[in-house]
Amino acid sequence: MEIPYVTQPRRDTGLYNAKVGIWLFLASEVMLFGGLFASYIMLRVGAPEGTWPTDLLDVPIGTINTVVLILSSVTVVLAWSALKLKNFKQYRRFQAVTILCAVTFIVIKSFEYREKFTHYDVVLVTGERVDGHLKERGEDEQGEEYLVLSHPVSYPAVNGIAYRPEAVREQKKSGQIDADRRIAQSEVKSIKNWSPAANTYFAIYFTMTALHALHVIAGALVIAWIWGPGASLWKTDPERYINRVEVSGLFWHFVDLVWIFLFPVLYLL
């Protein structure tokens, strides 16, 4: 005996199995990301005054990625509509754009990660704090280690990172942003890069975005599989094929939806 309602909706619920399944799965995903958002808020409101960093991420890049994901979301629905109209070619084209967008998103994201990992945050013995992109690291003639930071920002180390945005603004006004800065080992009190361990903000940023990126990758793989190797189903059981596209699409929209919240929360606030 076959399992019923694999393609056709059940009368009283109006749904086919996989659609019930994906929505249930999404419900648990809501709780997963919901738990993370709740944690984010708790950590943020619980942080002592002036210690929660802001303005550390690259807003233009984040915006581009947002647009990329939105675009991919619309191509997914358009692809599905095309299938509904029995236009397989068009479906393929739209869905190819989707996959391309996914790849773009991940590539951009990994550059962004790299950028952060090579961004160094140095507290000097003088009590000054400097951070900037690591340009060069080495030993000078005396055998002393040094590093060179490009686009450095400097501000007083007391009171954590709260002064940074102000310092950036001042620098922009005074126009001396681009001077690289060379720091010798002897001047350094402590040094770390912008990795998850840098502070709780980066910790939650990396955790949330990495988990989201994993979802993007997983979703893209599924969509690609249906697009490529799985497409033979279109010939044998088109209804079921359309269902698969719809279900994977629902997941994809959810991933987009999460990003719509992640973007302002992490980049802008």
């Binding site: 005996m1 019930v20 648990s28 995903e29 997963l32 738990g35 944690s39 942080a47 709780t200």
Partner: protein, 609 residues
């Protein structure tokens, strides 16, 4: 009619043969058939139950005879676990590992897989008249994740510093700063188990929503199905926040973040010695972990109890030959329990320092949630009234004993629910006794009832009646000998998770201190140890019975030896692939026992009037 049936039968036999084609591996290990998967779950979970029990015996030994070498097993422990069990003694580290792993194994690897995954997989599709689960391959994956999670958990015993040591609750910062990779294993294991549960939960819900046989309306579902439905929702929505907590704790342990390590924590030695990074970012929050954990933790305890209640309800209705009293009330009650269990969690955190309002809120919800439990139990009680009760069979004995045992456990939840009383009882053995009464003589009795009840459906043979009763009476006696003294110990203030069983706080050790634990409290540790060992012995008849009956058990007289009404009994024994000879068509409610005017004292759900 006759002819079509035999034809259908032949066809289904044919199909079974067809399935056997791929061979043993395909059929028993990588099967997608819900019944095989249910059995896989059952056997694995029972093994874990036994492991959890052994761990507990060693802990009981440690509590009764602090730092004395474990008799018989001592050398074995030393070879297996190394330094932590030097000279065959149970060191505090080892005790803590055992405690954490006893809790984890019992909850996540034994009871939930048994009552939810095993019974649910086997019985639910049968009871709703489905051919299989909605997503058979996801079902298989769910078992595989579970198995893998179990392997990871067990492996952690044998790594250099041993398994996790921070309790089954794994509170940060302790769990983070303890120097063992066991915690990392624990976290990874948990992520796997959570994945398994999520897949299972999606599958269960989708199956119940979509695959009910024609005529099986919501209000005609056996109550057991309702219970599994609610349980699946609890797993689906409560587990993800724990997954979040596990990921964040994993980050703290491996990547060096400080989600749960607050500013001002000043470990003076070790890997996490100073929290400078924490200071710079505002640090983390230790209580956040507890919120995330208990957001799962509380629904989880209902995951443990609800399926057991469902089994008990089926058995009681069947053996009293009466419909469940107040079926609708039961359904609404279980829905209410499910809903409320999401908003009571902080009753585990009263003493972290809660203000008046928030604790009033959580006290109120906790008290409210006890009402539907009372209602459920009351309905089961009233079901008995006017019945024709067949008391003396193993499933019914276990089911009946469940009622007062759960009653004790549930009622002792009340003083804990009021935080003013919890002030004295929190983290004492009173809590241990409370929840063991619900999970051990409660849930374990429920699942025993289920095993004795459905055994003939699964195997076509009955388990031995006499040894079943021996098993029951001995278990009942020793369960109470083990757990009853713990109420007294807890009331006296004996704190949990002490490897010396409270000896350090005993008045024998500190004669001039007021409020030390008296000699009775300490002597009870020995009683508990003895009780636990006897409880273990009492399981031997069961284990033998379980395996020997496969071969030598009395053959069940028919497909429906208990003369039950639900669809699971209207299939061939054992049910073939695809379950039913003919697609069943449901025409009546689940419990038409002793219907006036009917020929028999039961009318199956698919039997037309």
């Amino acid at each position: 009619m006759e002819a079509t049936q035999t034809q259908a039968q032949r066809q289904s036999v044919h199909e079974t043969h067809h399935e056997q084609g791929p061979g043993f591996l395909r059929q028993y290990i990588f099967s997608t058939d819900h019944k095989i998967i249910g059995l896989q779950y059952a056997v694995t979970a029972l093994c874990f139950l036994l492991i959890g029990f052994f761990l507990m015996c060693l802990m009981s030994w440690s509590k009764a005879y602090d730092m004395a070498a474990v008799p018989v097993l001592g050398p074995l422990l030393e070879t297996l676990l190394g330094n932590a069990a030097a000279e065959g003694k149970i060191s505090p580290d080892l005790y803590n590992s055992f405690g954490a792993m006893h809790g984890t194994i019992m909850v996540f690897l034994a009871i939930v897989p048994m009552v939810f995954a095993a019974f649910g997989n086997y019985i639910v599709p049968l009871q709703i008249g489905a051919v299989d689960m909605a997503f058979p391959r996801i079902n298989m994956a769910s078992y595989q994740f579970y198995f893998l999670g179990g392997v990871v958990m067990l492996t952690s015993f044998f790594i250099p510093n041993g398994a996790a040591q921070a309790g089954w609750t794994s509170y940060s910062p302790l769990a983070t700063v303890i120097e063992t990779d066991g915690q990392t294993f624990w976290l990874i294991g948990m992520v796997l188990l959570i994945t398994s549960s999520l897949l299972g939960a999606v599958n269960f819900i989708a199956t119940i929503i979509q695959l009910r046989a024609p005529g099986m309306t919501w209000m005609r579902m056996p109550w057991f199905v309702w219970v599994q439905f609610v349980t699946a929702f609890l797993l689906l929505l409560a587990f993800p926040p724990l997954e979040v907590a596990a990921l964040m704790q994993l980050m703290d342990k491996l990547v060096g973040t400080s989600f749960f390590l607050p500013t001002g924590m000043a470990l003076t030695s070790g890997e996490f010695a100073t929290a400078e990074s924490a200071a710079a970012s505002g640090g983390g929050s230790a209580l956040l972990y507890q919120h995330l954990f208990w957001f799962l933790g509380h629904p989880e305890v209902y995951v443990l109890i609800l399926p057991a209640m469902g089994i008990v309800a089926e058995v009681i209705s069947n053996h009293a030959r009466r419909p469940l009293w107040g079926y609708r009330t039961l359904v609404y009650s279980v829905l209410a329990v499910g809903f409320l269990s999401f908003i009571v969690w902080a009753h585990h955190m009263y003493l972290t320092g809660m203000g008046t309002f928030i604790s009033a809120f959580f006290q109120t919800t906790t008290i409210i949630i006890s009402i539907p439990s009372v209602v459920i139990l009351t309905c089961l009680f009233i079901t008995l009234w006017g019945g024709s009760i067949r008391i003396n069979t193993p499933p019914m004995l276990f089911a009946l004993a469940f009622l007062p045992m759960f009653g004790i456990g549930g009622l002792t939840g009340l003083p804990l629910a009021f935080n003013f009383a919890d002030l004295h009882l929190h983290d004492t053995y009173y809590v241990i006794a409370h929840f063991h009464y619900v999970v051990a003589p409660g849930t374990i009795f429920g699942l025993m009832a289920g095993i004795y009840f459905w055994y003939p459906k699964v195997t076509g043979r009955l388990m031995n009646d006499y040894w079943g009763k021996v098993h029951f009476w001995a278990s009942l006696l020793f369960m109470n000998i083990v757990f009853m003294p713990m109420f007294y110990q807890g009331m006296k203030g004996m704190i949990r998770r002490q490897h010396d069983g409270g000896a350090g706080y005993s008045s024998a050790r500190n004669p001039d201190g007021i409020g030390g634990l008296d000699d009775t409290v300490m002597e009870f540790n020995t009683v508990i140890l003895m009780g636990a060992l006897m409880l273990g012995l009492a399981q031997i008849p069961f284990i033998l019975n379980f395996f020997l009956s496969l071969k030598y058990g009395e053959k069940a007289a028919s497909d429906n030896p208990w003369r039950a009404t639900t669809l699971d009994w209207q299939t061939p024994t054992p049910p073939p692939h695809g379950n039913f000879r003919q697609p069943p068509e449901v025409v009546r409610g689940p419990y038409d026992y002793s219907l006036p005017g009917a020929k028999e004292d039961f009318v199956p759900q698919n039997q037309p009037a």
